[in-house]
C-alpha cells in the first residue's frame, strides 16, 4: 500500500458511532483533564468551565449529526485548530517565555483543539482520538504537578478512559459487554502492568535546559536589604540570630539566621518546608560559616548590601576559594511553608532562575533573597556538583590555592584545643593525605559518639567541642559536625560549617524530594586544592543518585515491614494456621456414618497392606478384607452391605446401630500381609514363590 493510499484510507470516514455511553465516557475523560489543568492554574477556571460546556455541546452535536455531519463542520474544525496553533506559536515565540509560558499555552492549545474537535466526532476512531488527546492534556498538567493531589484527577481520568475503552469494545462487538470478572481482570492487568513499568523504569531526570519556573509566592518583600528573614516561620519577619522565639517553628532552624548556635537544637516539627526536583540528591546548602567562637558559628564576610542586579536567570559569581569542578545539576525548589530567605542550592550555584531583579550574594556563596520565601515560591538553580573521586582527592594538589586571607579564616580557632589536637593526631596518626585524615576522623566519630537530639542545652560559656568530645559524646548534627571541623582545623586542614537541609524523602510519583523542617542539618566542608569545597558529613549519608521507583517501593515496603511488631504477627500467623488446619480437618471429616465405616475399612486394609483399588466397590473390598480378618468372617461384608443399603437404598439404621457399626469397624482388625514366603502385589493374595509363572 502506498503512502497516498494509507493517507486516503486513514481519512475515510468511519462508521457512525451510536454508543451514547462511549461518548459520555470520552466526555468525562476530557472534562477531568480540563479540570486537572485548571487545578494547576495552567488555565483559568473560567476558561475551563467554558471549554467543558463547549465540549459537552460539541459531543451532543456530534452524536446528533453522526450519520451525516454537515459539510461545513470540517471547515470550522480545521480553521479553529489552525487558529489555535497560530496563537500557540505566537505565545511561545515571545522572548520572555519560560517553561510556564510554554506549558500554559500548550494546555490552552490542547483544550481549544479538544473543544473544537468535539463538534466533529462522528465515528469510534474520532472518539479514540479524543481519549488520546485527553491523555496528552493530563500529561501536560502532570508536568507541573508537584503533589499527590493530582492523583485524584489521574484516578478519575483513568476510570473514565478505561470505561470508554470497554465501551469501545462493546460498540465494536455489536453490543457484547465484558463480564465483571473479565473487566476486573483487564483493569487489574492494566494496573499491574503500569505499576510494573513504573517500578522498573528509572526515575525521570531534567535533561533539557529551558527557562524554568520562577514564582514569588506570598512571602512579601523584606524591609532591610541583605538581611536574613523567615526563620521564625513568617517569611518577611527578620531573623534573630541564635535565639529562637519559639522552639517549635517551621523552618525555624537556628542556623538560618546569620549565626549558628550549637548549644541547642530547636524542636523543628515535621512540616513540609519545600519540595525539590533535582537530577540527583544532594545537601541543599543555605549558608556557610567560617568563624568558630566556642559555642556559635558566624560568618566573617557579611552579606553585602549592594545587590546583584540582573534579570532571571542570574549568572552567579564563583564563591571565593571554590573551584568549579564537576557536573551541572538542575534543581527546582517549590517552597511549601514560609522559610528563611536563603536561596538553597546544591554545592556551588552557578545560575539561578529567580522571581526578582536583584539578589544578595556573599563571597562565600550564600545567596539571600530580597523577597520573603513564602509558600508558592518557586526557583531553579543550576549548580556545579563535585564529581571528585576519593582517589582524586587523595592526590589533590591543584594549582589554585586557598586565598591567604581566607586560609587564615578557615583555620581559625577561638583558643587552642590541645586535647582536641591530641585526639585528632592520634586518630589520624597513620594517615598521610587530607582525604584519609577526614575519613579517619569521620569513622572515629561514627564509632565513638552517638547522635541524639534529646540532650539539654549547653550551659552558657561552655565550649561545644570540649563538652561533646570529652563529655558523654552524645550530641546532634551541629555539635558533631562542629567537632569534626575543629579537629580538622586543629590539624591545619581548612574546614568550615555548612547548614541547610538533607535531601529529604524521595517521592517517585511526583519525582520530588520532600524536605521537612526536621531535615535541617549541619555538615562540614573541607577545602581541597584543585577541587574546592567538598562536603563531608559524619551523621548523614546522601545517596549518589535519585533512587528508582522500584528501589523506593522496596525501601518503603521494607520500612513498613520493619515497623511491624513481630509478636502480634507471629500470633496472627499461628492462629491463621490453626484455623486453616481446623477448616481442612472439618472438610476431610466423614460427613455420614457410612463414610466413616468406609474410611475405617480403608484404614484397616491399608494397615494390613491391602489398600483399596480404585475400581473396587466397597462391597468387593469388604469381601477381600474378610478373607484376611478371620476364618469365615463376614464382618466387613455385613458392614458394607449396611452402608450400601443406606447410601443407595435409603435404609438408614437407627442411630444406636450406626454407632455400633462404626465402633465395630474401628475394632475389627485385618491380618497383615505375610512379610516372607510369598510375593504379592498390592491388595493381592499372597502367591507362593514357587508358583510364580515363568515365561
Amino acid at each position: 500500500m502506498s503512502v497516498v493510499d494509507a493517507v486516503r484510507r486513514a481519512n475515510q470516514p468511519g462508521v457512525p458511532e451510536d454508543s451514547v455511553r462511549l461518548r459520555f465516557a470520552c466526555l468525562g475523560a476530557v472534562v477531568v483533564a480540563i479540570a486537572a489543568c485548571a487545578s494547576l492554574e495552567e488555565i483559568t477556571w473560567t476558561t475551563a468551565v467554558g471549554a467543558m460546556v463547549l465540549v459537552a455541546a460539541g459531543t451532543a452535536f456530534s452524536h446528533a449529526t453522526r450519520a451525516r455531519p454537515p459539510w461545513w463542520i470540517k471547515v470550522v474544525v480545521a480553521v479553529g485548530a489552525i487558529a489555535a496553533c497560530v496563537w500557540f506559536f505566537h505565545e511561545v515565540s515571545s522572548p520572555t517565555a519560560g517553561i510556564t509560558s510554554v506549558v500554559n499555552p500548550l494546555t490552552a492549545l490542547l483544550v481549544a483543539v479538544l473543544a473544537v474537535h468535539s463538534f466533529h466526532v462522528p465515528s469510534r476512531r474520532d472518539l479514540l482520538f479524543t481519549l488520546g488527546a485527553s491523555a496528552g492534556l493530563m500529561a501536560v498538567g502532570g508536568a507541573l504537578a508537584i503533589d499527590l493531589r493530582y492523583g485524584l484527577y489521574v484516578v478519575a481520568w483513568a476510570c473514565c478512559s478505561l470505561w470508554g475503552l470497554t465501551e469501545m469494545w462493546t460498540s465494536a462487538s455489536g453490543g457484547g459487554r465484558i463480564r465483571a470478572s473479565g473487566l476486573v481482570l483487564a483493569l487489574g492487568a492494566t494496573s499491574m502492568m503500569a505499576a510494573a513499568v513504573f517500578l522498573v523504569l528509572p526515575a525521570p531526570v531534567v535533561s533539557s535546559r529551558v527557562d524554568f519556573i520562577a514564582r514569588a509566592g506570598n512571602g512579601g518583600s523584606i524591609g532591610e536589604p541583605g538581611r536574613l528573614a523567615g526563620d521564625s516561620g513568617i517569611a518577611a519577619q527578620l531573623s534573630r540570630p541564635g535565639s529562637p522565639a519559639s522552639r517549635i517553628r517551621v523552618g525555624g532552624y537556628l542556623g538560618f539566621a546569620g549565626s549558628l548556635n550549637t548549644a541547642l537544637r530547636g524542636n523543628l516539627g515535621n512540616a513540609l518546608v519545600m519540595q525539590v526536583r533535582s537530577q540527583q540528591p544532594s545537601f541543599w546548602v543555605g549558608e556557610t560559616f567560617d568563624t568558630w567562637q566556642g559555642q556559635s558559628w558566624t560568618e566573617s564576610q557579611p552579606i553585602p548590601t549592594r545587590p546583584l542586579r540582573q534579570s532571571s536567570p542570574f549568572l552567579l559569581p564563583i564563591p571565593e576559594g571554590d573551584v568549579p569542578f564537576g557536573q551541572s545539576d538542575l534543581q527546582t525548589f517549590y517552597i511549601a511553608s514560609p522559610t528563611a530567605n536563603l536561596v538553597f542550592h546544591a554545592e556551588s550555584a552557578s545560575e539561578l532562575w529567580f522571581p526578582s531583579g536583584k539578589l544578595y550574594v556573599a563571597r562565600n556563596g550564600t545567596i539571600v533573597s530580597p523577597l520573603g520565601l513564602g509558600s508558592g515560591s518557586i526557583y531553579t538553580v543550576d549548580s556545579q556538583v563535585s564529581t571528585a573521586t576519593p582517589a582524586q582527592l587523595r592526590t589533590a594538589a591543584g594549582p589554585i590555592p586557598l586565598p591567604a586571607g581566607l586560609a587564615h579564616q578557615e583555620d581559625q580557632l577561638p583558643h587552642p584545643y590541645p586535647r582536641v589536637l591530641a585526639l585528632a593526631r592520634s586518630v589520624t596518626a597513620h594517615d598521610t593525605t587530607t582525604y584519609d585524615k577526614v575519613q579517619s576522623l569521620i569513622h572515629w566519630i561514627g564509632t565513638h559518639t552517638r547522635y541524639s537530639e534529646n540532650i539539654p542545652p549547653l550551659p552558657a560559656g561552655a565550649d561545644t567541642v570540649d563538652e561533646f568530645l570529652f563529655g558523654n559524646r552524645v550530641g546532634f548534627c551541629e555539635q558533631i559536625s562542629t567537632s569534626l571541623a575543629v579537629m580538622l582545623r586543629s590539624l591545619g586542614i581548612p574546614a568550615r560549617e555548612a547548614v541547610g537541609y538533607v535531601p529529604g524523602s524521595y517521592d517517585p510519583i511526583t519525582d520530588l524530594y520532600e524536605v521537612h523542617a526536621d531535615d535541617a542539618h549541619a555538615w562540614v566542608q573541607v577545602w581541597f586544592p584543585g577541587y574546592g569545597w567538598q562536603n563531608f558529613d559524619p551523621t548523614a549519608a546522601v545517596p549518589l543518585s535519585n533512587p528508582s521507583p522500584g528501589a523506593t517501593a522496596l525501601h518503603d515496603v521494607g520500612s513498613a515491614l520493619g515497623r511491624v511488631p513481630p509478636v502480634p504477627v507471629v500470633v496472627v500467623l499461628v492462629f491463621a494456621g490453626l484455623g486453616a488446619l481446623v477448616v481442612r480437618w472439618r472438610r476431610a471429616r466423614p460427613a455420614t456414618w457410612g463414610e466413616r465405616v468406609a474410611r475405617l475399612a480403608e484404614r484397616a486394609g491399608r494397615r494390613a497392606g491391602r489398600p483399596r483399588r480404585p475400581s473396587e466397590t466397597l462391597g468387593e473390598y469388604a469381601a477381600r478384607l474378610d478373607e484376611r480378618t478371620g476364618p469365615r468372617s463376614s464382618t466387613w461384608t455385613r458392614l458394607a452391605s449396611s452402608v450400601e443399603a443406606s447410601a443407595y437404598g435409603g435404609h438408614d439404621p437407627p442411630r444406636s446401630a450406626q454407632r455400633a457399626m462404626v465402633e465395630e469397624a474401628r475394632r475389627t482388625r485385618v491380618r497383615p500381609r505375610p512379610l516372607d514366603g510369598g510375593v504379592a502385589g498390592a491388595g493381592e493374595a499372597p502367591v507362593p514363590v514357587g508358583s510364580v509363572a515363568r515365561d
Binding site: 489521574v154 457484547g176 525521570p204 537530577q279 517521592d507 519525582d511
Partner: protein, 281 residues
C-alpha cells in the same frame, strides 16, 4: 500496534527527560492500557472455544446456509470456507444466550465436512483485532448443490428400428385400466393380443397412471471448476425440469472411477448427487 509502540516510546522519552513523575505515571497507565489492549485479544482468541450446535445437510451454491454455533465469549466470526458474512457470536452480557447463527454462502457445489472460520476479538479495549483460523467439523456433511440452471433439452435416444419411441412414458406400469387401439409409437410389449383377437384391430393395454420411463441424464464435468459449475447447474436445471414434468430421472456422472448412476427422485437428491460429483477422466 506499531503506532502504539511509537507513541509509548515517545511518551517515555518525554516523561523521562521532563523530570516529572506524574507524566511517567500517566505514560505507564497508557502503556498498560495499550499493552492489555494489544495482548488481551490474543489471549481471548487463543482461549476461545466455539462449537457448532446445528447445521443443515443441504444447501445451494450462492444461497445462505445457517449454522448454529455456540461460544462462551463474544467473538467476531467470518466464515472462510464456505465463505459468509461477518457476524458476532457469544453472549452480549452475563446470562444472555450464548448461541448464534453463522450464515455460510457457498460459492460452489461440493460436500463440506467441516467449516473454516476466522474468529477474531479485540476485547477488552477494541484497540487491536487478533484473528485465528479454526476448523470445525460439521455434525453431518453439508451437501451444497449447484445453482439450478436453465433446463437443457434432453436428446431423444435414436429409434432402434422397432418403431418404438423409448422415451414415451411406459404403459406397463401403474394400475391396469383396460385396452385401447394401438397408436403408432406404443411399445410392442403393450400389445394386448387377446383383445386384438377379439376386436380385430391391434389393441394395447392401458394403465391408470402410466409411470414415466426413467430418463437417464449423464453429466460429464470438465476439469475447470467454473466450467464444471456451469455444467452442473445446467444438469440440475434439466433434472429439475424433468422431475417437474412427472418423470423419473436417472442421474449419472462420468467420474474417474466410472459412471456413477443413481435415480434421483427430487431436487434435493439430484443436488446431493451433483454435489458429490467430480470431474470426469
Amino acid at each position: 500496534m506499531v503506532a502504539g509502540v511509537v507513541i509509548i516510546g515517545l511518551w517515555w522519552l518525554v516523561a523521562h527527560n521532563a523530570g516529572s513523575g506524574w507524566v511517567q505515571v500517566l505514560g505507564d497507565l497508557v502503556f498498560g492500557a495499550l499493552l492489555i489492549g494489544l495482548v488481551g485479544p490474543f489471549v481471548v482468541v487463543s482461549r476461545a472455544r466455539i462449537d457448532i450446535r446445528s447445521a443443515p445437510g443441504d444447501g445451494t451454491a450462492g444461497s445462505p446456509v445457517s449454522v448454529g454455533v455456540v461460544s462462551r465469549g463474544r467473538l467476531r466470526i467470518r466464515p472462510v470456507e464456505p465463505p459468509g458474512p461477518e457476524v458476532f457470536v457469544g453472549p452480549r452480557r452475563r446470562g444472555s444466550p450464548d448461541d448464534a447463527v453463522v450464515t455460510l454462502v457457498p460459492e460452489r457445489r461440493g460436500v463440506h465436512r467441516a467449516v473454516i472460520l476466522d474468529i477474531a476479538s479485540a476485547a477488552p479495549f477494541a484497540l487491536q483485532w487478533w484473528t485465528r483460523q479454526v476448523r470445525l467439523a460439521l455434525p453431518s456433511d453439508l451437501h451444497v448443490s449447484p445453482r439450478c440452471g436453465r433446463a437443457q433439452p434432453v436428446p431423444v435416444r435414436p429409434d432402434e428400428g422397432t418403431g418404438d419411441i423409448l422415451d414415451r412414458p411406459r404403459a406397463d406400469e401403474g394400475l391396469p385400466r383396460g385396452a385401447r387401439p394401438y397408436v403408432p409409437g406404443d411399445p410392442r410389449r403393450l400389445v394386448h393380443w387377446r383383445a386384438t383377437a377379439h376386436a380385430g384391430v391391434l389393441m394395447v393395454r392401458e394403465v391408470e397412471r402410466p409411470a414415466a420411463e426413467p430418463v437417464t441424464v449423464t453429466v460429464e464435468l470438465p476439469a475447470d471448476p467454473e466450467a464444471a459449475e456451469r455444467v452442473a447447474e445446467g444438469a440440475l436445471g434439466s433434472v429439475v425440469g424433468l422431475l417437474q414434468g412427472g418423470g423419473s430421472v436417472l442421474l449419472g456422472t462420468r467420474e474417474p472411477s466410472g459412471t456413477v448412476l443413481e435415480p434421483v427422485a427430487d431436487r434435493r437428491s439430484a443436488g446431493r448427487r451433483l454435489a458429490r460429483a467430480v470431474a470426469g477422466p
